[in-house]
């Protein structure tokens, strides 16, 4: 007795030639076998045509940015640590001399635009939005694809005192702008925003008051980041530090 699997393999041309010939010969004098073959018949061309017809409705190919660079060699890492330490010293000096006031984002800078948007947020905007892991996973997956960098909802939900509420894809001058929204225990809305860094210039953390909101921004080779919300620069600096640890920037 031939199994359905065997008959299927014959229909699919997957049987060795001698077995296929044998089956072909049996089929001629065995109406029962012919009926079983008929019950397994499938027009592959119809399947192929139906799925091919779907292709016309495919969404556009997403724009991909470079994934994070592979970890540098030990020597390069050491050199980078020295460079980062030097930058930290420079920033400390710059802040100490009031230089940082001159580097405040200009009008038209994306951070200023985010601040204009963020200032409209009140506790009620987000507190009703219950964190749902499935929804967050979908939102983060879309955001990751749009920004060309993996954003992990689990890692980004581990920020002390903050509740992760939502990840949204916004746009600024044709570029994706990701806004990840949190609330502080008192309901204060805090946003962590990311854009691609098209210039590729790195920039150490900088604090600034934008539209009355405390903020900290920085850049690595691939992306520019901003944490904004509330009016306490110390608390925003602490949040930004934790976020940098989680996203590895």
């Amino acid at each position: 007795m031939l199994s359905d699997e065997h008959l299927t393999a014959w229909l699919d041309g997957e049987l060795p030639q001698h077995e296929a010939d044998l089956l072909q010969r049996r089929l001629a004098g065995d109406p029962g076998l012919a009926a079983r073959i008929e019950a397994l018949r499938l027009e592959r061309a119809r399947l192929v045509a139906a799925f091919a017809a779907l292709e016309a409705g495919a969404p556009p190919f997403p724009q991909m940015e470079s994934p994070p660079a592979p970890p540098p060699a030990r020597r390069a890492r050491l050199a980078r640590s020295v460079a980062v330490a030097a930058l930290v010293v420079l920033v400390a000096l710059a802040i100490g001399t009031g230089y940082w006031l001159g580097s405040r984002p200009r009008i038209g800078d994306w951070r200023t635009e985010v601040a204009h948007y963020q200032v409209l947020y009140v506790p009620d905007t987000l507190t009703g939005l219950q964190p749902d892991p499935a929804r967050l996973a979908r939102e983060f997956s879309l955001a990751s694809a749009r920004i060309g960098r993996r954003l992990d909802p689990d890692a980004l939900s581990r920020i002390d005192g903050l509740t992760l509420r939502r990840a949204q894809v916004l746009g600024f001058r044709g570029q994706a702008l990701i806004q990840i929204a949190y609330t502080a225990p008192d309901g204060t809305p805090i946003a962590f925003c990311i854009m691609r860094n098209t210039g590729g210039r790195r920039s150490p953390p900088k604090n600034a008051r934008l539209m009355g909101l405390a903020s900290e921004s920085w850049q690595d080779a691939g992306h520019a980041y901003l944490v904004i919300g509330g009016n306490d620069p110390g608390s925003i600096a602490g949040i930004a530090r934790q976020i940098r640890r989680q996203v590895g920037s």
Binding site: E5, L40, L42, R46, L54, G57, P67, A145
Partner: protein, 187 residues
């Protein structure tokens, strides 16, 4: 020792050489060419457009992250579709853990109108809706062998199952799809 700055010649960046220097760029170009097929395969797995688009994008991202692991000359489509299928399995497992049910949100799959005649669209829609009712294991096997054209052995490798399991899934899928033969436009 004097270092010869112009040696070896930089053939990769010679205009018109036809050789793409960056493997990432090449992978991205191949992904773009594969995109409609990748999305279609994702749609067959997820059975709804929102998940399919997310899955196809997540697959592209994962492929680019792993671009260095791709060995030229090996089967790109097989590699990408395997990544896609594995990502979807992980997602379903995670959803089951999080919310107790798997990935069972099914769209009625509308075909793009105007691209084909109405009669053909009706037949296509009938085939698609029947395929989408197949159990996940049968559906993914059928997609790989009958829609994507992989051999039993290739599909078994992609799904990490024995060839015998591929055969039994296809036999079961064929029986379930048999009612389509009754109104076969080709007959």
């Amino acid at each position: 020792m004097v270092r010869r700055r112009n040696w070896p010649p930089d053939i990769y960046n010679t205009p018109g050489s036809g050789i793409i220097h960056s493997p990432r760029k090449e992978i991205e170009a191949r992904l773009q060419a594969l995109w409609p097929r990748l999305w279609r395969f994702a749609l067959g797995l997820c059975r709804n457009r929102a998940d399919a688009e997310d899955l196809a994008q997540a697959t592209c991202l994962r492929v680019l992250e792993n671009a260095a692991k791709y060995r030229d000359g090996t089967h790109f489509d097989r590699w990408v579709l395997t990544i896609c299928r594995n990502l979807w399995h992980n997602e379903c497992r995670a959803r089951r853990l999080r919310q107790g049910n798997g990935c069972d949100c099914v769209d009625a799959l509308d075909l793009p109108s105007g691209s084909a005649d109405a009669q053909a669209n009706i037949f296509h829609a009938e085939v698609l809706s029947k395929v989408m009712t197949l159990p996940d294991a049968q559906r993914e096997t059928l997609l790989l062998v009958y829609v994507e054209g992989f051999t039993y052995k290739e599909a078994a490798g992609m799904l990490d199952i024995p060839v015998g399991t591929v055969m039994s899934r296809l036999a079961a899928a064929r029986k379930k799809l048999a009612p389509l033969n009754k109104d076969d436009p080709a007959c």
